[in-house]
């Protein structure tokens, strides 16, 4: 279970570039739930994911995972509990190392690394088995540097790596945003497959209304550093892309109204 409590984060505080990225976010994920986060640009959805992953620490608030307070754990320590797929396909793999070596690195996520062979015979068999299950024909390319593969192939492998050892939490950061539509569909299908099979607790940030509406059992909308809507259960199941678009339009209009209202007030009183 992931519990995010009253998390705040301000970038460049006290400067003209100050950004209040998170303004007291509360969010609790039950075990096995698959939550999609969608939001406007600058809504703080990626910041939230990074705070959970430990890329940086929040200014205040707590993050608990599986009962442990991980708010001040460094990134590499949290990695024991968290599997992660980045937006950029280049971020999740070591390009000059072989496909097999990359996967073997992931097979020891959070475990001590000593002087045993990285890709031993047993590991090789397991690699072959798991890569074959991807059905992408990559089993013949295990010895090639992973950098020669396409973005879609690398992202599929990163997904496999993040979930090789079952994580307590899977973080997906717009992980199909940089892919062409066909690869994106493939990776999304694989994502759903793995999450359903392993019953993974998942937090997925997405830019795609389509993904937000069709994937997961819960949808959280963020705006200006806070959660503005939380669709669950049957409400989430009934949700369509059009409903989401309508909701975004509503937010936009409210904003505009606010601004004109503020302008009127300024004119009248300043």
């Amino acid at each position: 279970m992931l519990e995010i409590g009253a998390v705040r984060k301000v970038f460049n505080p006290g400067t003209p570039n100050e950004v209040r990225a998170l303004q007291g976010v509360d969010l609790t994920l039950d075990d096995g739930s698959f939550v999609a986060i969608i939001g406007t640009n600058g809504s703080g959805k990626s910041t939230l994911l990074n705070v959970v992953a430990g890329t940086f620490y929040p200014d205040s608030g707590t993050i608990r995972l599986g009962g442990a307070d991980i708010t001040r754990w460094p990134e590499h320590r949290r990695a024991k509990l968290i599997g992660r797929v980045f937006q950029n396909p280049f971020s999740g793999t070591a390009p000059s190392m072989a496909v097999a070596e990359n996967l073997a690195l992931a097979a020891r996520r959070g475990k001590p690394r000593r002087l045993g062979w990285s890709v031993g015979r047993q590991m090789k068999g397991e690699l072959l088995e798991r890569v074959r299950q991807l059905n992408m024909g990559l089993e013949n390319q295990l010895d090639d540097p992973i950098g020669v593969l396409s973005g879609g192939q690398r992202q599929a492998l990163t997904l496999l790596m993040a979930t090789w050892l079952k994580p307590d939490l899977l973080l997906l950061d717009e992980h199909t945003a940089a892919l062409d539509p066909k690869s994106a569909d493939q990776v999304i299908e694989l994502t759903d497959q793995i999450i359903q099979r392993e019953k993974l607790t998942t937090l997925m940030v997405t830019h795609s209304m389509h993904q937000a509406a069709n994937l997961g059992d819960r949808l959280v909308m963020m705006h200006r550093g806070g959660v503005i809507q939380d669709f669950r259960g049957s409400e989430k199941r009934r949700l369509r892309v059009d409903d989401l678009l309508a909701r975004f339009e509503e937010v936009r209009r409210a904003e505009q109204l606010d601004e004109t209202a503020a302008g009127m007030l300024r004119q009248a009183y300043v």
Binding site: R77, F86, A94, S96, E101, L105, R113, S118
Partner: protein
């Protein structure tokens, strides 16, 4: 002939330096200048201990240990204290100059008449070759001493090269390579990348200290100045090695680095023989490394422009 064999032997000894530079420069992409200090540190430690009558094996191992510590300090400065990597290396290198003087007690320690690793090589060679003074290799006269030095250096480098290759295939070594390749990825897989850099630079400078110790025992003295320019020697060897094998795949790259060091020493020996002023050596090496660093990018741009012209 003796000159040629001498060049090969020094090339092999310095290939340990080149392997160290390969680790910091290529595997971690860390410009580690500690090499200038740690090579002299290795020489100083070995010489000071040998003069006290310590067994050459232990003296040489101490040189590895000294270099290892020096590298760890540079790594810690760069990661735990977030000092720029170049500056961290410069700080440690500068500090080591004083440390080396303290270790040796003066600026130069001769090893004439001391029992060194070279004596072992000589004795081993003599017993294998049956006590002859000269050998006939393809019509050339070679002294047993020269031949056994070369053979010992070759065996040592092959052994250490294989160990480095094996090490980078282990779980720990693979995590180190991934740290240099993509630190974000390896952090997300639960590795403390700072510690990897510290340990990696330690291993790198351990090898460089070892090179210094062997060099001192081969040439018969340790000098506090002998480290100057070592990093550039090492870089030149690594770059030349890459040109020779044409790949950055680990095994071939390691073999290439050793070859690069040997070939580079041969070129230097030939150039000196042809009348190159020894004082110009470091300048020419620096220019060579400079050219090797910018040439690939320059060629690519040139080809791109040519392609553009031919399209138009």
């Amino acid at each position: 002939m003796s000159l040629l064999i001498g060049a090969l032997t020094i090339g092999l000894i310095l290939s340990l330096l080149a392997l160290g530079v390969f680790i910091s420069f290529r595997i971690f992409a860390f410009p580690d200048i500690t090499a200038d200090g740690s090579s002299a540190l290795g020489a100083a430690l070995a010489a000071a201990l040998l003069v006290k009558g310590v067994h050459p094996g232990i003296a040489t191992a101490a040189a590895f240990g000294g270099g290892f510590l020096a590298g760890a300090v540079t790594g810690a400065l760069a990661t735990k204290f977030k000092i720029n990597g170049l500056l961290a290396g410069i700080l440690v290198m500068t500090a080591l100059y004083s440390v080396n003087l303290h270790i040796m007690g003066r600026s130069n320690v001769p090893l004439l008449g001391q029992r060194t690793a070279s004596n072992y090589a000589e004795r081993l060679g003599a017993s294998v070759l049956g006590g002859e003074r000269n050998l006939n290799v393809w019509g050339w006269e070679v002294t047993v001493l020269d031949a056994s030095m070369l053979a010992a250096a070759f065996l040592t480098v092959v052994l250490l090269g294989l160990m480095v290759y094996a090490f980078f295939q282990t779980n720990l070594g693979a995590a180190m390579r991934a740290t240099g390749d993509n630190s974000q990825m390896i952090r997300a897989l639960g590795v403390n990348d700072d510690n990897m850099i510290i340990l990696g630079l330690a291993v790198s400078n351990g090898l460089i200290g070892l090179a210094g110790a062997f060099l001192a025992q081969y040439q018969g003295f340790a000098d506090v100045q002998m480290g100057i320019g070592m990093i550039v020697w090492g870089l030149a060897s690594v770059i030349l090695g890459e040109a020779l094998v044409g790949t950055r795949r680990l095994g071939l790259a390691i073999a290439g680095t050793v070859m690069g060091s040997v070939v580079f020493r041969l070129i230097v020996a030939i150039a000196l023989r042809l009348g190159l002023n020894a004082n110009d050596l470091k300048l020419i090496t620096a220019v060579f490394v400079f050219a090797a660093l910018i040439l690939p990018g320059f060629l690519k741009r040139f080809q791109a422009r040519k392609a553009q012209v031919s399209r138009a």
